[in-house]
Symmetry: C2
Subunit: 471 residues, 2 copies
Amino acid sequence: MGGAIGAERAGLPASGGVAAVIEALSEPFGARLSTGRALREQHANTITWLANEPPDAVVFVEDTAEVQQVVRACAAHGVPVIAFGTGTSLEGQVNAPKGGICIDLSRMNRVLAVHAEDLDCVVEPGVTRKQLNEHLRDLGLFFPIDPGADASLGGMASTRASGTNAVRYGTMKDNVVALTAVLANGEVITTARRAKKSSAGYDLTRLFVGAEGTLGIITSLTLRLSGLPEAISGGVCPFPTIRSACDAVIMTIQSGLPVARIELLDEVQVRACNAYSKLDLPEQPLLFLEFHGTEAGVHEQAERFGEIAAEFGGGPFTWTARPEERTRLWQARHDAYWACLPLKPGAKALATDVCVPLSRLADCVDETKRDIEEMGMLAPIVGHVGDGNFHTVTLVDMDDPQDVAKAKIFIERMVHRSLAMGGTATGEHGVGQGKKKYLEAEHGRETLDAMRAIKAALDPQNIMNPGKILP
Amino acid sequence: MGGAIGAERAGLPASGGVAAVIEALSEPFGARLSTGRALREQHANTITWLANEPPDAVVFVEDTAEVQQVVRACAAHGVPVIAFGTGTSLEGQVNAPKGGICIDLSRMNRVLAVHAEDLDCVVEPGVTRKQLNEHLRDLGLFFPIDPGADASLGGMASTRASGTNAVRYGTMKDNVVALTAVLANGEVITTARRAKKSSAGYDLTRLFVGAEGTLGIITSLTLRLSGLPEAISGGVCPFPTIRSACDAVIMTIQSGLPVARIELLDEVQVRACNAYSKLDLPEQPLLFLEFHGTEAGVHEQAERFGEIAAEFGGGPFTWTARPEERTRLWQARHDAYWACLPLKPGAKALATDVCVPLSRLADCVDETKRDIEEMGMLAPIVGHVGDGNFHTVTLVDMDDPQDVAKAKIFIERMVHRSLAMGGTATGEHGVGQGKKKYLEAEHGRETLDAMRAIKAALDPQNIMNPGKILP
């Protein structure tokens, strides 16, 4: 269903099955169930160019039993169920194209257990990553996955999020040990034990990570934690060209340097960051780096990277172990999205991501930059390049149909470029509604049929976040 | 179905659907299809105490199209298909309790591509890990997963294998980037692109890793590679008790020391190794360690570990960076299984594994050792303790029904002990036939129902390795 239909639906009163579900849930949930339009629109897609398609009602749940209660009511009437964490997803994952009930999980925000000796913890899905790290700080532990936004951990699991630290610590796929989920039939499953590894049956954990709520609603997560590094060093290294920066990244990864973060900013993004964050970085392609380890280790890593950079014409690599300087730098990196906005006042900044094999990174970024220039677009590039993953932040005047059309063509070309290079349509943002159309080109019909068979097996009525992932 | 039925079946000529399949495949495969009893028995379970349940025929395939051809013929007649790599699985994964066709993949043993810049390669499923590492050596790369046996990579993926290096490099789950598989309907799917990460749809890669051939036959794998470490150090550290050794392991992992291997041997295993490998290790609980990194890094790691060990009464930690000494040590570790056999001449050595949260490792090993003593068993303990994973090698006189019965009770108690401590029935050997009975205790009925639904969706006739994993 298209956005227009959802937009029309927003004004209509709920009817049929949805009305029955709302009635059934009204008494038990009282004021925690709302059909107010503003609230419903806040719970649909807000930060992409996809139309806002609100659910028919939003219900604020407080425990797993309540999630079961809502899902069972919806199942009885064939009504869609959409899980909502913080609403920071980037491809329309929380839209309700077929209406239905949005389950807001933000009140399920308790850290249920921290097992410091086992380097794991158990959290409810509404806990955000910053909240968790605040909770862990005194224990010398942290949860390393950092997608930028202060997303909920349930949402991060559901989109298989990653971010700047993934090159060292992996993605949500690697850091969710187990989860519990409410299935479309209302039953609760737990996918695995707390043991660090297991060969006991199908890996349902990884099946639910990245499923964007289409197979069930995650109601708790067991997460792997890391020890806070004893020492951190980091810095900035300029390069003459994007390609030389990418080549240095390849060599860094290949040489086994356990870099914790290695981020590329193109010169457009650097200019934006300088202006926004009041920095005076050289306005050329830059790598931002961070190393975690022992005092001696982070010094050694930084020095080695400096040597590699020099081989590719980069440098000087200015690095520091002083926290305040590092923080200032990474704050600027995290503010990159916001820094882009003033480049084109009034424009919307649309973040999209692709991920290619590392050997094709320079080609993919180069060609994308050429496209940006030839199409006369404004689209800074910033990337988690240690994983071959990069973003464009396309600045679009949403009131100008030509500008919108051009941006759509640009993103489409970028995705197909990635696919042609053996890459994926999305490294970390997920499919949602926005990237469904690329999934067959990426995986082939037979693979999509297998995904559809699994979806149908676990959700025969197609009530769990319908209209997402599968085209 | 029990072993006895399979054992009886072995002598009978194939009939019905199976006969039709054998006839249909005879012409295209010629001498590559065999119904000889000895060959069939070699292709069924040999190294456990489960009865040998041979397939009706073995076919040696050479490419994906041939796998499709066999699967389609079997699907047409509802005949089971069992994938076979090297036959080193430990829970009866290659048995054919319902007969059927065994697909021997050992001739699909080509390394199809090595992408050194991307740190990945593409292999056929019959390539063994040693063969791959031989192929990679000159490139300065290696594939780190090492389950001991020179298993096929398809088989290692299918049982979600791991081993000594997993504490640093992860398991097969973490090192298979993508795979192609022939489904029960004869179609070929590719689960993912070569990009290092992706959020594009359901994680079918991880679903097939550990599925033991019950969802499809893997016909190629894209594997993540690692750079050969610049320097390696390693050594042996004795401890006064198993518990103090386990506590040192916990502290080592918690402190973030990036140990590459950390293996526990109890004093019984040490005695066996001393005798078998002509070593003079102190006959008390030992940790074998290995560190990978830069020259400075491995020295630092070894020194830090020595300090941690001393805190728990362990030591002296004698370590070396000299390859020949390390090799001798790790050869002894790899020969631990064989070293056990002379402890009880004529006995069969039955390896079983469990995995618990690290904080419970000392408890679980301690209680297991007490059980061994109280039951008067001979069962050395050896473990990948950095992951909370350990093995007993139970020595059983298979001609003595009492000895067999006792060993069964012992293993059953060990599994339930692990489950009671939040652990799993198997950390790395898989479920096969041997551990099916524990799966409901581990996961619960609802989770098993979800696994069954997925199995039925992808294999409605239940022809892919039936009788494995799901009870």
